[in-house]
Amino acid sequence: MFNTALSAADLVFLAKGAGMTILVTAISVAIGTLLGILFGVIRVQLGAKLSLPLTFFLDIFRSVPLLIQLVLANAFMGMVLRLQVSGFTVACGVLSLYTAAYCAEIVRGGIDAVPATTRRAARSLGMSWMQDMRYIVAPLATRIALPSWIGLALGVMKDSALVYVVQVTELLKSTQILITRLQEPLFLLLICGAFYFLISFPLARFGGYLEKRWSHD
């Protein structure tokens, strides 16, 4: 009924591509989230005016297409700084900043959503700014920001398909290589899509699980 030239070795090849997608995504989301929290807190603390330079810098990463950022960053490293940097490093660096730019907004929104009166109650009990941030703001803002953050992480995972332009063979690039050889584009894209789904699904479910656990209503 159905004939394909796809071999077990090809599947392993795709799985390796998927592994690269997971690796690039995990590193970028981890670094990007840490930076995003830092930038988000700085933005809240400094206020709109003082944090304008930072906002402008982050807006660049949010508005320029990722593909262009990757190509330019790669060229900048090699041609301007004359540094021997691997495509993998460039990919993780650009994706991290890209994630951080979006994450900073999510963090800012989460912190702003914690009622000022709740924070005032914490401070009135003698808690310092840091204690208020750690024990009241962080847990509440995390609950508010989680759905957006999950969306961001899933988005970055799919956007990581673009890192092929800096010679990183991730899942989509691996699929394209197989398509060129086997000439079965639809079937291979179906499998590729299934791989993406398998990667995303647990993350999305994990988010749902946390949301459920945190709701006390």
Partner: protein, 240 residues
């Protein structure tokens, strides 16, 4: 002792406090009444340094609240405040709401903090709600939890800012009973309230605020029975 000396405070162009002088002795219960916008709630947030003041001084046991060198986090440990909106920490259980500050601010270990919290929660009638989340409590219960949370820091003074104003009428009584109990135990309290019967029953002195000025202060019998100030009379007539 809380000493408020010629305190002025404004929000932008709006002058909220125009030279308030008030001394509250240890063990005294002072209630502050007055119309909305009279500055009575602002005064409370100034006493524990949540709001800066423009001029004047507030001294709590001799420590100037708004002095640059004052460690406000330390000072606030002895001044409990409960707000109109009870401001529960929604991600923590009732017990955790009450143990958080004693553990993190005072550095008391978990078991001891829980013992203190349980005692205070039983005191306000929430002994059976320890592991409940605030969202499952009624407004009155949340407000009593907020009172227990402040009491768990063993404050020397308690400030109550219209703590019954946001409650359904049938829940007001249980919170006022809690305040009365504290007053009878000798807690030094400043209560901003619209509950005139409560003010008459528990206060050592009642202060009437009008447009940022303390128009009148005296024993409850005098304020309610023989108000001297025209504005006080008009106000009391309007709330009766």
């Amino acid at each position: 002792m809380i000493e408020i000396q010629n305190v002025h405070k404004s929000f932008g162009p709006l002058k909220v406090l125009k030279g308030i002088d008030l001394t509250v002795e240890k063990g005294e219960v002072v209630t502050v009444i007055g119309g909305s916008g009279s500055g009575k709630s602002t005064l409370l947030t100034c006493i524990n340094g949540l709001e800066p003041i423009d001029s004047g001084r507030i001294l709590v046991d001799g420590t100037e609240v708004h002095a640059r060198t004052t460690d406000l986090n330390r000072l606030r440990q002895k001044i409990g405040i409960v707000f109109q909106q009870w401001n529960a920490f929604p991600h923590l259980t009732v017990l955790e709401n009450v143990t958080l500050a004693p553990r993190k601010v005072l550095g008391i270990d978990k078991a001891e903090a829980e013992a203190i919290a349980e005692k205070q929660l039983r005191h306000v009638g929430l002994g059976d709600k320890l592991s409940t989340f605030p969202s499952r409590l009624s407004g009155g219960q949340q407000q009593r939890m907020a009172i227990a949370r402040a009491l768990a820091m063993s404050p020397d003074y308690m400030l109550f800012d219209e703590v019954t104003s946001a409650l359904d009428p049938q829940l007001v009584g249980e919170v006022l009973e809690t305040l009365k109990m504290l007053a009878e135990e000798g807690m030094t309290m400043i209560c901003v309230t619209h509950e005139m019967a409560f003010a008459r029953d528990v206060s050592d002195r009642v202060a009437y605020f009008h447009k940022g000025i303390m128009a009148e202060i005296g024993a409850p019998e005098q304020i309610f029975g023989d108000p001297q100030h025209l504005e006080t009379r008009a106000f009391l007539a309007s709330v009766r």
